[in-house]
Structure formats: structure tokens, C-alpha cells
């Protein structure tokens, strides 16, 4: 048994630990533990009062057993008793037990809080320290409620000991992080800022942590900290290595404090005051200069501490992004690290350089390191480092080096770790599109992607290549030839079959002149893959076949034979069977003219931002926003035939990635029409009365508003007042749903039914006259404020000015979301009823979240994106009381109704809800992540929104907070 070196060792504890270590098996260990638990139980229950030492020892044993991973359900009371002991060591063990085994028993919490209160008031610095540590360790809401008001007083009181101040500052920080609403801002905040001037560097260090977090949320209030931080930093940076005595760490003066001050400065833009700014620039230059000096020690601690400060300084330089000279120097410094023998430094240099690459001042300087980075991709042994190299290559890519970078990434993809393949695929796909001068190169690149890493090529990628081929007629022939050749491979990826099927179905005629790719050969080639494919791909191929019937009448009978076979017509899959039946029928009864119309080549896709970009944008975070604007400009000038989607068309412009606008509610994947979905919709036109094609939209069929009381309502005696109905409650009901009653009084009922896709939407407003008297001069008007007009485009059609008693009229509003917006439009209705003039206004629930597209992602992706949106401005958080019963299923339904995807098994805490989606506006797409953390006990929620745009985070948070 090892000797216990110091302090008041507990012999019984040491013996017990020794016994446990000597246990030969898990069973023996459990037996020994059970014996001990029984012993302790009997001691605690025994008649003889235990002395402080024994109590301490047994509590400590329980703690040990708990830390071994066993459950402990008693001993809390004994631990609480120890808190009021006057012996420091007993008190200390009591506090340790409480901190580790927090118990929510309210009686116990009252006792604990009481003991803490006594110790805080004891004026004994060691006792105060213990109490503060305990509050910080537990950090619960109950603790915050009890002490958040008290601790600021201790922190700024003139007579508080330095060590207590340090504990108080960090304790307060912990409470602020868990329950910001409970920490009152007040006079103390300005005094806390002045702790930056404190004599004691330990106090300054602790205070800087607190101030940084407070300043992130309340930048105005803590603005004065900037100049104080700069002068403090300047004093440290210029001090000799011995000046700061014990705060010098391996010859580096106060590295912790320096890093914290540099972090604090990253909460603010560059200082406005030229003197402060000059001083800060000097500091940063000094830090960069020191990096070039020979090391004062060979120890890794010296270089780590020195470089920690250097990297933090570089972060600040990048954050300010305003001093070209500093940025270039930072880049050169990182360039040196790229070849450093320390893996850690190479890793950090690659990571830092990524952010440098997006600054206009240093982009060119970063590019000069391309060979080193490519080499890192090939030779680094650590996947974490290679991942950073991929990120950096992507960030430094532009027109001048795109071919090289794409080639290297493709090369690397062949051997890349599975964990990062999908991301590389996305990056390659984006770069290839963004910098394609020659679209044959683009097509080749994407086909290579599918060949090398087909499983990692997501739908977005292959949808995109089809959109581009369809929109660019100069590449169609080449694409058809290339996919035809690629399909010759004996084993090709299913994604290639999809792309091949789609492209040949559209453009197979362009290569049919060559006898080696005659229509029949094309068909046989595709059909040879058919049986190996999944249902959605087969569905797509069936559509290709019917397109072939139009393109190549000479093989019509071959195709009809295939469609007619039992395996198609009697296929167990409903979708496949239906397609086979309908396509066969279509090919039999339709004239060639009708066939040509129905199966015509796809019209160009409306120009919209690539969904791949949207996917990666979320991975990449805000740094690339400008970058993405630029791509969009480039692309819109590159692409021909960009047709705006026509809102009032009964069949929307088809897109391989979307169901058509008519489909209410998302269709399951297997049911969704394959890429040539227009033919699917048009089929209905061919076989039936054209009007029934739009039947789902016909309001008459809607039963939502045909409530019996509407028909039987009696004449209203009272005159409704001429008021603006804010109807907030009803308005909020529509945030998570699209249909229902928006407004109702004795005269009028207003119902809504709406549908949204991407940045477009359509709303049907139904006005029901509940009386038996006519409404005259009935004029509904949708009003947008000036602000709103620029972001939301609404078109309404006038309605009949007369509404008969008991009748219902309908008005259509076509909606286009141009950019993100805050307010809601107002619906104003004026009419005459029985000689009186009626005027009322309600908010129309067209809210930003309606333009959500849900995005599914894995836990890893989610947190990676979450992390990338960590800029304080991107996050908005709200903590609020539950207004409705906290039912998990209802909450899930609401999050889905809100429009984002509900991601299951993503959050480590299963009680939390996380969601992800993309807000589509005409000008941009905004990736949104959300996290809702319920606290059943407190009946509270914490909602966090992270998006690349502050206003969007803000608005979504407001809207969603009202729902629970």
C-alpha cells in the first residue's frame, strides 16, 4: 500500500481502495463494494453518533464508489452535515461530494444553500472559496436564483481578498452562462471593467474571462474594456521575461492573460481612437517580431505558450481584417509553420490560414503556399491535419488554380478517409462548377466524382450536373457521349445510371447518329442496368424509356414490350407499376404530336442558387458569404436561358430536385416523380379534363371552412367596432401550420390555406359571410410597409365586391420572398354591411420560416456546422417559460411544422430537439440550425438559433419562441 504523502489521509479509505485494486474480477469488485455499502449504511443508521472524521471518511468512500461508475442513493444528508463542520478538511469533502453528486431533492438544496450562505458570510477566505467553487461546480438554476444577486457584490467589494475575487468572477461567469436571465446587470458592471487595471494579475485573468463573455452579449455596456485591455496587453508584451515573476510561464510573460485579452478584443471592431489603435498595432507587431527571435528555452512549454499568444494575435488580426501589412505578415508566419516539424503547429497553421484566405488582403499571399498544402494532403499521417489541408485548398481556390486543386482533391479522394469523403465530394463539385470555363471539364469532373466516390455523391450533386447540362446547349452532346461511354463499364455506380438515364433520355438523339450508340444500343445499355437498381432509379429509367419512345420511334415496340412485361405491369411497387401502366398507355393511344408535346425536351431550369452550395455554405460558415455572392454573379452571367419561375403556371417549371408546387405536403421519396416529372403531370392533362389537373387547388373542395355554424349563423345584432385586429395569438398559430381560421367575428370568417416551395408561395384567403345579408363594396387589400415591399413580393387578384349572405369568396395571393424580412403584411378589409361601414385589419401570417426547406444531416455534420456558426452575431438565444404543456411529441410536430428538419439522435441529450433547414429567398439561401432545450423541472425552454445572418437568427428565434 502506498504511503499517503501529506494532509490528513484517511487510512480506512486507502485500505478500501487497495482492496478494490486487488479484486481479480468485476464480480469480486462488486461484492467488495456491496459489502462496503452495507457497512456504511449501518454506520449512518446506527445509534452511535459518528464523529466528523468517520463521517468524512465514509462520505469519501461513497464518492469513490460513485466515481468507479456505481450508483449511490444515500449519504447526501451526511455530506450536507459536513458542510457545517468547522474543520476545513471535513467541509471540503462535504462540498466535493455535493459538487459531484448533485441531488435535486429540494429539501436538501435548501440545506446546501443555507450552508453556502453561511460560508459566504463567514469572511473566512478559504471557506468563501469553497462555497464559491461549489456554486460554480453545480451551476444549477436553483443556485443562480439563490446567489446571482450576491456574488457581484462580493466581486466588487473593496475589502474582498484577491483569491476570493478570482473565484467570485469565475463563479459569476458560470452562473451567467447557465442562467443569463438571473444575473442582474447593474452598477457592478462598470466596476468589473476596472478590474482590468487591478494590481493582481490573477484577478485580472479571472476578470477578463468574465468580461469577455459579458461583452459578447452586451457589447455597448463593456465598450470601455477595449482601451483598458489594450494598455494591459501592451504592458505585458513589452515587459521583460522576469518582470511578471510567477506569472511568467517558461519565459513567456503571462500567456494566459495575454490570450484572454486578445480574445476580449475579438469581441469588438478595431478601436476607433487612433492612439489606442496605434498601441494595439504595436502590440501585434511586437508579438509577430518575437516569433522570429530565437527561443529562450528548448522546452515545448516555452514554444507552446509563445505560439499560443501568436496564434491568438493572428486571430485578432484576421478578425479586424483591416491592416494589410499585418495580414501579410501573419500569413508569412503561418507559412513557416506549415513546414514545422511539430504536427500541432502544422495543424493550427492550416486552420488559421483558412480564415486568412477569405480576406482580400491576404488571399494572394495564402495562394503562394499551394504546393506545401498539396504536399500535406499527400504526406500527413494524421487525418485531422489532412482535413485541414482540404479545407485550406478549398478556401484558396480561385480561377487561376482551380484545375490543379480539383485534380489534387480528386486524387486524394481515391484514398481519403471515409469520414471526410462526402465533404470533399461537395467541395469538388462546387469548385468545378464555380470555376468551369469549359463545361466539358465540369462534366468530366462530376462523372469522375461518381466513379471514385459514388456512395458519397449526394442528390444535390447529381441534380446539379443535370440542371447545368440542360441549361447549356453547348455541352449536351458531349455529356450524352461521355455518360454513354461511362455506362459501358461493367460495374458502374447507381448514381451514374441516374445521371446517364436522365441525360440520354433528353439528349440521346445527339449521339444516335453514330452506329456505336444507336437508339437500340443506348436502350439496351440502360436496360442492362435496370434490374440492379433501386426503385427510385428504376422509376427514373422508366421515364427515360418513354422519352425514348418520342426520341426514337423506331424502338417504340421494343420499349412497349419491356413496359408490358409482367415484371413491370405487375410490379409489387405501386409507383413502378403505375408508371409502367401509364407510359404504356400513353405510348399506345397518344398521337405523335401529343407525344412530342408531352415528352418534349426539358425547358431550362430557373436560375437559382445551387443546392450544393447551400449545403456547403452551412459547413463553411459566414466567412464565405461574400465569396458566394461573387459566385452567383459569375454564374448568372455564365448561364444562358435563365427563366424566372412563373408563379401562376399550373405546372411549375420542373426541377429534378423538387416535387412540383402543386403537391401539398412533402411526398415520400419513392413516390416523388422522377426527374422528367413534367411528363407525369402532363399525363393527367392528356387523359382527363384539363381543369381536374388543378383539382387539388380548387378551393371548393376544401372542407376547412364549411363549418356548420357558418351556414346556420344568425343575423348579428351588434356592430363590430372599427378596429385593427392584431390577433397575435391567431397569427402565431400559423407559424407552424399553413391552414386554418385566421379571424372570426359575428359577421365574417377568414380562412387561410397556403403552400410554400423554396422562395415561392401561394396563399388562398377565404372570406365567409356569416350573415344572411350581402356585403357590399367588399375590398380586401394586402398592405406591405416600405421595408417589407423590398423583401416580399405579393400579388393579389381583386375579388368580387359583393359577397352574398352565407357565401364564401376566395382570393389568391402569390408570394415571392426576395430577401429575409421581419414584419408581416397587413390584410385590410373594408365593406358595407346593412348600411354601416366595416373596416378591419389583421396580420397576414406570411413569416420567414415559411420559406424553409428541411435539411437532414448526421450528428457529426450538425455539430460541425453548428461550430462553424459560432460567431456571436450568428447566434440568438432565448430562455422562456413554457406557455403550453411540455409534451415532446407536440414539440416535435411544431418544429417540423416550423419547416426545419427534426434531427433525431443528433443532440447528445435525448431530451433536446435539434433542427436544420435552409431559408430560401430569391437573392440568397440561409442555412439555419436550431436547438431547443426543455427544462421540465423549471418549465422553461432555452432556444438557440444559429444562422449565417443575424437578422434571420433573430426573427426565427422570435417566431419559434412563441410556439411552446
Amino acid at each position: 500500500m502506498p504511503a499517503v504523502s501529506k494532509g490528513d489521509g484517511m487510512r480506512g479509505l486507502a485500505v478500501f481502495i487497495s482492496d478494490i485494486r486487488n479484486c481479480k474480477s468485476k464480480e469480486a469488485e462488486i461484492k467488495r463494494i456491496n459489502k462496503e455499502l452495507a457497512n456504511i449504511r449501518s454506520k449512518f443508521k446506527g445509534d452511535k453518533a459518528l464523529d466528523g472524521y468517520s463521517k468524512k471518511k465514509y462520505v469519501c468512500k461513497l464518492l469513490f464508489i460513485f466515481l468507479l461508475g456505481h450508483d449511490i442513493d444515500f449519504g447526501h444528508m451526511e455530506a450536507v452535515n459536513l458542510l457545517s463542520s468547522n474543520r476545513y478538511t471535513e467541509k471540503q469533502i462535504g462540498y466535493l461530494f455535493i459538487s459531484v453528486l448533485v441531488n435535486s431533492n429540494s429539501e436538501l438544496i435548501r440545506l446546501i444553500n443555507n450552508a453556502i450562505k453561511n460560508d459566504l458570510a463567514s469572511r473566512n477566505p478559504t471557506f468563501m472559496g469553497l462555497a464559491l467553487h461549489c456554486i460554480a461546480n453545480v451551476g444549477s438554476r436553483e443556485m443562480a436564483e439563490a446567489f446571482a444577486g450576491e456574488i457581484p457584490k462580493i466581486l466588487v467589494a473593496g475589502d474582498t481578498m484577491d483569491s476570493v475575487k478570482q473565484s467570485a468572477a469565475l463563479c459569476l461567469l458560470r452562473l451567467y452562462r447557465t442562467s443569463p436571465d438571473l444575473v442582474p446587470m447593474g452598477d457592478w458592471t462598470s466596476r468589473v471593467v476596472h478590474l482590468l487595471n487591478d494590481q493582481h494579475l490573477g484577478v485580472v485573468t479571472a476578470a477578463t474571462s468574465l468580461i469577455t463573455t459579458l461583452a459578447q452579449k452586451n457589447p455597448e455596456e463593456f465598450k470601455t474594456s477595449v482601451s483598458l485591455a489594450v494598455s494591459r496587453l501592451s504592458r505585458i508584451v513589452t515587459s521583460a521575461s522576469t518582470d511578471l515573476q510567477d506569472y511568467t510561464y517558461y519565459f513567456v510573460p503571462a500567456p494566459w492573460l495575454s490570450v484572454k485579452l486578445l480574445r476580449l478584443l475579438q469581441c469588438y471592431p478595431p478601436p476607433e481612437d487612433p492612439a489606442v489603435r496605434g498601441r494595439l498595432t504595436e502590440c501585434l507587431e511586437t508579438i509577430l517580431n518575437k516569433a522570429q527571435e530565437p527561443p529562450k528555452s528548448k522546452k515545448v512549454q516555452h514554444s507552446n505558450a509563445k505560439n499560443a499568444v501568436l496564434f491568438e494575435a493572428i486571430s485578432l488580426i484576421i478578425h479586424h481584417d483591416s491592416e494589410p501589412n499585418l495580414l501579410v505578415r501573419a500569413c508569412n508566419q503561418l507559412g513557416q509553420f506549415l513546414q514545422h516539424r511539430e504536427t500541432n503547429l502544422r495543424y493550427l497553421a492550416l486552420e488559421s490560414m483558412c480564415t486568412l484566405a477569405s480576406s482580400e488582403f491576404s488571399h494572394e499571399a495564402v495562394k503562394t503556399h499551394i504546393e506545401t498544402v498539396i504536399n500535406a494532403l499527400k504526406t500527413e499521417r494524421d487525418v485531422s491535419v489532412r482535413q485541414r489541408a482540404v479545407d485550406l485548398l478549398y478556401a484558396m481556390c480561385d480561377r487561376s488554380n482551380a484545375q490543379q486543386i480539383v485534380a489534387e482533391m480528386l486524387n486524394y479522394l481515391e484514398t481519403a478517409d471515409y469520414s471526410i469523403r462526402e465533404e470533399i465530394v461537395l467541395k469538388v463539385a462546387i469548385l468545378a462548377e464555380k470555376y468551369a470555363v469549359d463545361y466539358t471539364w465540369y462534366v468530366d469532373t462530376i462523372l469522375n466524382l461518381i466513379r471514385i466516390a459514388g456512395d458519397y455523391v449526394s442528390e444535390e450533386v447529381w441534380y446539379r450536373v443535370i440542371q447545368i447540362v440542360i441549361n447549356r446547349d453547348d455541352v449536351q452532346g458531349y455529356a450524352a457521349k461521355t455518360v454513354f461511354e461511362a455506362l459501358q463499364a461493367p460495374a458502374c455506380h447507381e448514381n451514374l445510371v441516374k445521371v446517364g438515364g436522365y441525360i440520354l433520355g433528353e439528349f440521346g438523339n445527339l449521339i444516335a447518329g453514330d452506329p456505336r450508340s444507336s437508339p437500340l444500343i443506348q436502350f439496351n445499355l440502360l436496360h442492362s442496368k435496370f434490374h440492379l437498381c433501386s426503385v427510385p432509379t428504376r422509376a427514373l429509367l422508366l421515364s427515360t424509356y418513354i422519352k425514348f419512345v418520342n426520341l426514337f420511334p423506331e424502338i417504340k415496340t421494343t420499349i412497349q414490350d419491356v413496359l408490358r412485361s409482367d415484371s413491370q405491369l405487375k410490379n409489387a411497387d405501386v409507383e413502378l407499376q403505375q408508371r409502367a401502366v401509364e407510359y404504356l398507355r400513353l405510348s399506345t393511344i397518344a398521337s405523335t404530336d401529343i407525344l412530342a408535346t408531352v415528352l418534349e425536351e426539358m425547358p431550362p431550369f430557373p436560375e437559382r442558387e445551387s443546392s450544393i452550395l447551400a449545403k456547403l455554405k452551412k459547413k463553411k460558415g459566414p466567412g464565405t458569404v461574400t465569396d458566394l455572392e461573387e459566385i452567383k454573379k459569375e454564374r448568372s452571367s455564365d448561364m444562358n436561358g435563365s427563366a424566372e419561375p412563373a408563379l401562376n403556371a399550373t405546372v411549375t417549371t420542373p426541377s429534378p430536385s423538387e416535387d412540383d408546387l402543386l403537391g401539398l405536403g412533402p411526398a415520400p421519396v419513392t413516390n416523388s416523380p422522377p426527374p422528367p416529372s413534367s411528363s407525369g403531370s402532363l399525363l393527367v392533362d392528356v387523359f382527363s379534363d384539363p381543369t381536374s389537373a388543378v383539382a387539388p387547388l380548387a378551393p371548393g373542395s376544401d372542407d376547412n371552412f364549411a363549418s356548420p355554424d357558418l351556414a346556420s349563423s344568425e343575423v348579428v345584432s351588434e356592430e363590430p367596432a372599427d378596429t385593427v385586429h392584431d390577433a397575435d395569438e391567431l397569427f402565431h398559430k400559423f407559424v407552424c401550420k399553413n391552414n386554418g381560421v385566421l379571424f372570426e367575428n359575428q359577421l365574417l370568417q377568414i380562412g387561410l390555406k397556403s403552400e410554400f416551395r423554396q422562395n415561392l408561395g401561394r396563399m388562398f384567403i377565404f372570406y365567409g359571410n356569416k350573415t344572411s345579408t350581402q356585403f357590399l363594396n367588399f375590398t380586401p387589400t394586402v398592405i406591405c410597409s416600405d421595408d417589407l415591399q423590398s423583401s416580399l413580393n405579393l400579388q393579389t387578384k381583386p375579388v368580387d365586391p359583393t359577397v352574398d349572405g352565407g357565401a364564401q369568396v376566395q382570393q389568391v395571393v402569390n408570394i415571392e420572398c426576395v430577401s429575409d424580412f421581419m414584419e408581416a403584411p397587413i390584410l385590410n378589409i373594408q365593406f358595407r354591411y346593412g348600411g354601416t361601414f366595416q373596416n378591419l385589419s389583421v396580420k397576414l401570417p406570411i413569416t420567414l420560416n415559411k420559406f424553409f426547406q428541411p435539411t437532414e444531416m448526421s450528428s457529426q455534420d450538425f455539430f460541425q456546422r453548428w461550430k462553424q456558426l459560432s460567431n456571436p452575431k450568428q447566434e440568438v438565444q432565448n430562455i422562456f417559460k413554457a406557455k403550453h404543456p411540455m409534451d415532446a411529441e407536440i414539440t416535435k410536430a411544431k418544429i417540423i411544422g416550423f419547416g426545419s428538419a427534426l434531427l433525431e439522435e443528433v443532440d447528445p441529450n435525448p431530451a433536446n430537439f435539434v433542427g436544420a433547414g435552409i431559408i430560401h429567398t430569391k437573392t440568397t439561401q440561409i442555412g439555419c440550425l436550431l436547438r431547443l432545450e426543455p427544462n421540465l423541472q423549471a418549465q422553461m425552454y432555452r432556444l438557440t438559433l444559429r444562422t449565417s445572418k443575424e437578422a434571420v437568427s433573430q426573427r426565427l428565434c422570435e417566431l419559434l419562441s412563441e410556439q411552446f
Binding site: 502506498p2 504511503a3 499517503v4 504523502s5 501529506k6 494532509g7 490528513d8 489521509g9 484517511m10 487510512r11 480506512g12 481502495i17 487497495s18 485494486r21 469519501c60 469513490f64 478538511t89 471540503q92 469533502i93 466535493l96 478559504t126 460554480a136 451551476g139 483569491s163 478570482q166 469565475l170 463563479c171 461567469l173 458560470r174 452562462r177 485573468t205 479571472a206 510567477d246 506569472y247 510561464y249 490570450v259 512549454q301 507552446n304 505558450a305 505560439n307 499560443a308 496564434f311 491568438e312 486571430s315 504536427t343 500541432n344 495543424y347 493550427l348 494524421d382 485531422s384 482535413q387 450528428s859 457529426q860 455539430f863 460541425q864 453548428w866 461550430k867 459560432s870 447528445p908 441529450n909
Partner: protein, 154 residues
């Protein structure tokens, strides 16, 4: 801020866990298992940093013991390595040439020393002298070996 600190042996035995965020016990156990597995499977020559969920793991091995901190994305990785080193120095100073057994048999001391150094996931006192003094002050009740041996062994 540091979200949690784990100390574990090369055999994967957990020796110390300190959490600066509130999580249910079940979740903690899951995280511990996962992280020990991730770190132990990494090669010698790799970097000391691993991306993990929305956090970053920073770890270093001292003799038979791994020290691992989970920090946020914007936290300074290199300085976190030195947080670990400073903690090892404090343990060393207290126990005198600290080894894994010291931490096993005096786990409560290891927690006390950590509390003097870090509160709520932030460094409280970076001066070794001041931190050590605070710890030694708390050992006011020194006892002799004889006193120790006279204590009951159960």
C-alpha cells in the same frame, strides 16, 4: 471554456472526471467511453487535437496517464496543452514526483488541486506559487505517520 477534463490510463481506466457543463450521468458515461476510445486509438505521431462533435479535444500523455480537455472551437488549443501541463506541475509539486497511484489513492486531493486552478472551465490562477500555497493552506491539519497508522483500518 473547457467543457470537461478526463484523466485515464493507457488501459482505458478513468482516473478523474471533471465536468464544467451539466449533463445527465448516463450521458457522461457515454461520452467517457467514446472519448477514451477515440484517444487511445490515435497514433503517437499525430497532433494533439481531435474534432469531436461541436467541441475540440486537446490531449496529452504523461507516462501512463492521458489528460484530455474538451474545449470550444474558439479556445486556444496550444494554451490548453499548457493548462494540462500546469495541472501536472501542481500535482507534482503537491505529491512530489506524482504518479498514477497518487491520483488513485488521493483522488479527492486531485480534485481539490484542480478546483484551485480552474473554476467553471476557466483558468483561475496561473501562478504556481499562489495555487500551491492555497492547496497547502488547506492541509493545515498535518498529521504524523504514527497518527495515521493509529487510525482504524476499515
Amino acid at each position: 471554456m473547457i467543457h470537461f477534463i478526463l484523466l485515464f490510463s493507457r488501459q482505458g481506466k478513468l482516473r478523474l472526471q471533471k465536468w464544467y457543463t451539466t449533463l445527465p450521468d448516463k450521458e457522461k458515461k457515454k461520452i467517457i467511453r467514446e472519448i477514451i476510445q477515440i484517444i487511445l486509438s490515435r497514433n503517437q505521431k499525430t497532433s494533439s487535437f481531435v474534432d469531436w462533435k461541436d467541441l475540440k479535444l486537446v490531449y496529452k500523455r504523461y507516462a501512463s496517464l492521458y489528460f484530455c480537455c474538451a474545449i470550444e472551437d474558439q479556445d486556444n488549443e496550444l494554451l490548453t496543452l499548457e493548462v494540462v501541463h500546469r495541472y501536472v506541475e501542481l500535482l507534482d509539486r503537491y505529491f512530489g514526483n506524482v504518479c498514477e497511484l497518487d491520483i488513485i489513492f488521493n483522488f479527492e486531493k486531485a480534485y481539490f488541486i484542480l478546483d484551485e486552478f480552474i473554476i467553471g472551465g476557466e483558468v483561475q490562477e496561473t501562478s504556481k506559487k499562489t495555487a500551491v500555497k492555497a492547496i497547502e493552506d488547506s492541509d493545515m491539519l498535518q498529521e504524523t505517520v504514527e497518527e495515521y497508522m493509529n487510525k482504524p483500518a476499515f
